[in-house]
Amino acid sequence: MSREWPLWEIFIRGQHGMSHRHVGSLHAPDAETAIRNARDVYTRRNEGVSIWVVEASQITASSPSDKGPLYEPSESKVYRHPTFFDIPDEVGHM
């Protein structure tokens, strides 16, 4: 079998989007072609105004089984969610 075109992950920022969102992936020989194909496949119906392409091999992902140890520390730090302060009514909205 001959060599395959690399896989690219596609991120698009929508018309009113605050950030780029992962929308899918595609194969292309290089980044420019990946952008052109992403334009055709993922923005044909005005889905976005900005495209990022990243070669899939450049992405390192966390593992779902690490979920516990990876995110547990934030659960034990209630002081990061300061929703428990009592502000006197006289002070007004804060």
């Binding site: 079998m1 896989l7 992902a61």
Partner: protein, 325 residues
């Protein structure tokens, strides 16, 4: 159904892991690519998603057959956009399958040498313009019936691909029905063409849901793993119940003498398709099997130098960029 007769694989894994996996499925959790999964689950999904992707690609051929002959510019533009959508659907699905550890080129080669299948429906020819209407209305209609529940299938990437696809698939069904309406309300000759298209595509569309539940030996495992959500017969019934009134509205007749409303079950009774024909088509003996595979093989072989050329050019550019830095 775009993925017909997918055999679910037996599984030979650590019973403890298997039990934990089943518990996640039962709890309605989505399985993601990096999660542990049974070998059989992985293999079944590669087959099913791969086959589904192949169907989108091969499905471009019967419709592409009428692009140069579409009767008006508007119809032609719509048909072009539709065939372009199908290519995109194939792409989403290949990418979903690739998250399971198989590559798109591997799947393509398996299709081309007959180790993987595609939907039986695309082995039927499109003989008149009305067939393009019937394909949109009936074939895409049957596909939607099958794909809407797949939006809840247990493998995350597959379910997300289905959500994107279903949105566009409903455009396609409507465009098909619009063609049928125009023809059914047109001249006598046009109406005859519409009826003829319905006659030829009715049973092949019913076959898209696969054989009856009693014969579908592999459904049980797929349903247990929530790869498959509804039974073949259940979906087929739903399709008939939805389609019959649409045909009536067109003033066309469903080619089935046994079709009648069954008050008790609240649905239509109808004739089963010819299953001998179905299995024959799946085996490669349908009207267009050879032609479809020849077209795909020719495109793949003739395109080899273009694929290699683009890759060589990309490498040359990359090397030049590194040298400049």
């Amino acid at each position: 159904m775009y993925a017909q007769m997918v055999k679910s694989e037996a599984t030979n894994d650590d019973p403890e892991l298997l039990e934990a996996f089943q518990a996640r499925i039962d709890a309605g959790e989505r399985i993601e690519p990096k999660d542990w999964m049974p070998q059989g689950y992985r293999k079944t999904l590669i087959r099913q998603i791969g086959q589904h992707a192949h169907s989108e690609i091969v499905g471009q051929l019967p419709e592409g057959n009428w692009i140069t002959r579409a009767p008006t510019l508007e119809r032609k533009a719509i048909l072009l956009a539709k065939v372009q959508d199908e290519a995109g659907h194939g792409l989403y699905l290949y990418c979903a399958a690739e998250t399971l550890g198989v590559s798109r080129d591997e799947m393509t080669e398996m299709l081309l040498d007959g180790r993987m299948k595609y939907s039986s429906i695309f082995n039927y020819p499109t003989l008149t313009w009305a067939d393009i209407g019937a394909v949109g209305w009936l074939v895409d209609g049957a596909a939607i019936m099958n794909q809407v529940p797949l939006q809840r299938t247990s493998f995350g990437p597959y379910s997300r691909a289905m959500i994107r696809i279903c949105k566009e698939e409903s455009f396609h069904q409507r465009q098909g029905y619009d063609i049928m309406m125009k023809m059914a309300q047109g001249t006598e000759a046009q109406k005859r063409m519409a009826q003829d298209a319905l006659n030829r595509f009715w049973y092949p569309s019913l076959m898209m849901f696969g054989p009856s539940d009693a014969e579908s030996v592999h459904s049980a495992q797929s349903m247990k793993w929530k790869i498959k959500i509804d039974s073949n017969d259940g979906l087929r019934q739903k399709f008939v119940d939805q389609t019959v009134p649409q045909a009536k509205y067109l003033g066309l007749t469903i080619p089935d003498e046994n079709l009648s409303w069954n008050e008790e079950k609240g649905g239509y009774d109808f004739s089963e398709p010819d299953w001998t024909e179905f299995f024959n088509v799946l085996k490669g003996n349908g009207p267009c099997n050879v032609e479809r595979m020849d077209a795909r093989n020719k495109a793949w072989d003739d395109g080899a130098w273009v694929r290699e050329g683009l890759l060589a050019h990309a490498e040359k550019k990359k090397a030049a960029k590194v040298a400049a830095e």
